[in-house]
Amino acid sequence: MWLLLTILLPLVGFALLGLFGKRMKEPLPGVIASLLVLASLLLGVGLLLSGGARFEAEWLPGIPFSLLLDNLSGFMLLIVTGVGFLIHVYAIGYMAGDAGYSRFFAYFNFFIAMMLTLVLADSYPVMFIGWEGVGLASFLLIGFWYKNVQYADSARKAFIVNRIGDLGFMLGMAILWALYGTLSISELKEALEGPLKNPSLLALAGLLLFLGAVGKSAQVPLMVWLPDAMAGPTPVSALIHAATMVTAGVYLIARSSFLYANLPDVSYIIAVIGLITAFYGALSAFGQNDIKKIVAYSTISQLGYMFLAAGVGAYWVALFHVFTHAFFKALLFLASGSVIHALGGEQDVRRMGGLWKHLPLTRWHGLIGALALGGLPLLSGFWSKDAILAATLTYPFGGLGFYLGALLVAVLTAMYAMRWFVLVFLGEERGHHHPHEAPPVMLWPNHLLALGSVLAGYVALPYPLPNPLEAFLKPTLAEVEAHHLSLGAEWGLIALSGAVALLGLWLGYTFFQRKAFPAWYLTFEAWSRESFFVDRVYNALIVNPLKALAEALFYGDGSLLRGYLGLGGAVRSLGQGMARLQTGYLRVYALLFVLGALALLGVMRW
């Protein structure tokens, strides 16, 4: 029951603010919303400390509404409510004065409730409730400023693209149901311990569930919605499209690790998709001019990392990266938000620059965030990224290739992280603004996030240093056999990746302070700016043909009706033909009469 309360608290906040928020004065709605999330956080911590919790209620025949708080979901709960709380607080300042102030916090609370449902679910349908719920919250928040057509379009696009993944999720559930007759995660876990029934079908189920994750976590090929999702207010981008919701896909894989550990082929696909996405995101980040879109593409790329880790079987590492990423990416977004706030809504990095001297606190947030993203040794991003790199190398199927790829992405990441920082904070002022530092209510969350970005990596240090996180999560995750690296090799790799990160950071730092760029870079930048034309290709090959077909079918349906009416008309004219026999001439009548009589007698059985 207490467990349910963690979900209900923010849900109550949603109802309360949705119904009465309009009558509350700022900042009351924000305060209420933040406090409820905090209460959820405290409750969750309490429950976790008391050894987890379970909740089950009747829902549908054979499908109870079951929640489970174990270490894995508890870990996610902490991220969601913890980071969520900070971003709520930040939003009190960021959204101040907006006409939809209370509406914003209602949606925000709704999101937290749904995210908690997703995380705490002990059955796939319940997870799906949260899954779709966060999708809805994302839709509503991306389209928060709905008067802008582009924003509204983005919101819709996000929802529809996500639905593609959701269909995969649903079909995956259908297969599991058909195979095992249950969708409870705990029960499926037990059922999968024995020999597998129908492994190829199970693999399909795994693949379909992964399709759901691909949609939600913006992996290739369904990544197109996330950059557009930046249309929402910045706290939304930080909370939903960086720290929490988009990592739900990773969580799904980790939650289902008992399944994927049995499906090496599917896991391989996951790893490949993850790597491709990591590349794609990193390459696309270079060309972006919107301060938030750079961060958005970096999110795509980092999510790719997480899937790479999950694909090679290092589930806890994936979650580790979720954890550190939540801090530094939220920080980057909120710092971006502070910048935007400072510039009165300006988002184009070409009109920024030189903010270093204007924003004495935010500049540090930005720097720490960028460095953590870039993997500067000893910051949180470094530890988790390194753990991923190490994990790929132990992967028995082409581990080296994955490793080298991931390493390359690490260089790119460090470079574009610096590009972001350089363009925003360094150089000369290119805009005509009068920047002002953010209020304390926005700064304090960033302070805490910055602290997290520095320190979050220390929960899981490489062997032989203490690694409490792995120990904490291991019981809830499946084991995949992998060979272990020797101590020397491991630390050698750490040194290598540290050096690579430093190289990347330095390259980025110097390269993007240049006045002129080489031609090859400009060409690349042009492609990158358009995200390699994926959107256009999709529009040309999929979206527009489908729309055109919809129009065609619509008119075709009209013809169908006309066809039926034509049939009716034919019957009618047949009738008129019959009525025409009624000529009025007696001789015709008599003739037909006699003919009829003859016909009658003719068919008699003699």
Binding site: L574, G575, Q576, Q582, L595, G596, A597, L600, V603, M604
Partner: protein
Amino acid sequence: MTLLVLSLFSVALTLLGFFVSVPLFKRFTILGLSLALLSLLLTWGKPFALGPYHVDGISQVFTLLALLGALWTVGLVRSGRFEFYLLVLYATLGMHLLASTQNLILMLVALEALSLPLYALATWRRGEGLEAALKYFLLGALAAAFFLYGTALHYGATGNLLAGTPGEGPLYALALGLLLVGLGFKVALAPFHFWTPDVYQGSPTPVVLFMATGVKAAAFAALLRVAAPGVPDALALLVAFSVLLGNLAALGQKEAKRLLAYSSIAHAGYMALALYTGNATALGFYLLTYVLATGLAFAVLSEVSPDRVPLERLKGLFHRDPLLGLGLFVASLSLLGLPPLAGFWGKYLVFTEAAKAGQWGLLVLALITSAVSAYYYLALGLAVFQKGAAEAHPRPLARGVALGVALLLILLGLIPGAVLPALAAG
């Protein structure tokens, strides 16, 4: 009893007609028909025989229907000449006789006895009516010839003149076929229906009502007797022709009476389905609902105009006179056979008979064509609600009857069980 009453009144009124005023004469006619009805009801369920005259269940049920039709016709008509009423009375006598005998010769006599007054009635309006009546008469003669020939062959095949005698051989089959043609003409089964549209359109509406109700009832009674030992399979042809032609040809009609003429052909087809098992109760109930519904329709039409009634002229009837409008609407739906109106149960009962006889093909054909019929029945029924300037000068009684019959159609639809046992007991 009934025969006695009818004959007595026929003779007496023939003489009386020259001495009393027409309205009074009309009342006498009504009195006679009512007394006949009363006598029928008093002896309900009690068989009676006198030579070839044979009152049994079939006779009572179908005479009842014929009497209802006759009464309604007389009540409706506004004729200034007493002959009209007299002719109705003569025809009713013929109908009663036709329904009450197994003897083929007597049937033939009764057929002529009911037909000749009707020929005369059909000419009541000169001009077009005369032409239609002439066709009716000549074709009727043809049909009578068939019937007569059938009678002769029947005698040859079985050695007696009792309809319903079982027999076999080609001669017998031929006899049955010829009898079928003769009676099929009277009930307007296709392809012997050709008189119907012309006559319905050309005759005064009350006469049409009489033809559609009384004649059908009496002729079907005879058909039941003729078909008792087994239906010639050629009947299927007639049914199929009737339901197809009746319903399809009605689709394009713009004139209400002509439309109902085709409808009556289709209904004859449906009713003929009951012949397969010879279930008089089912057929009787169908005829009852048909008499009520089609009678109501013609009654409303005759209040609009005694002549032709194009559908256009019905528009706005509901606003002009809600009771008449609703009456026509209810009648149309009942003719269509939409529950909860009585017509549905009529259809249900005869279709059940067809099902019992295993005539699934005919059954489906009948049902499909009746779906088609929805088009014209609705056109008729909904016309009254449309915007328009329909004229109607109904008598108060007519409105009362319209309301009563409409309610009866609904009531019978809800509790058909109320009258079925009575029909079965007859």
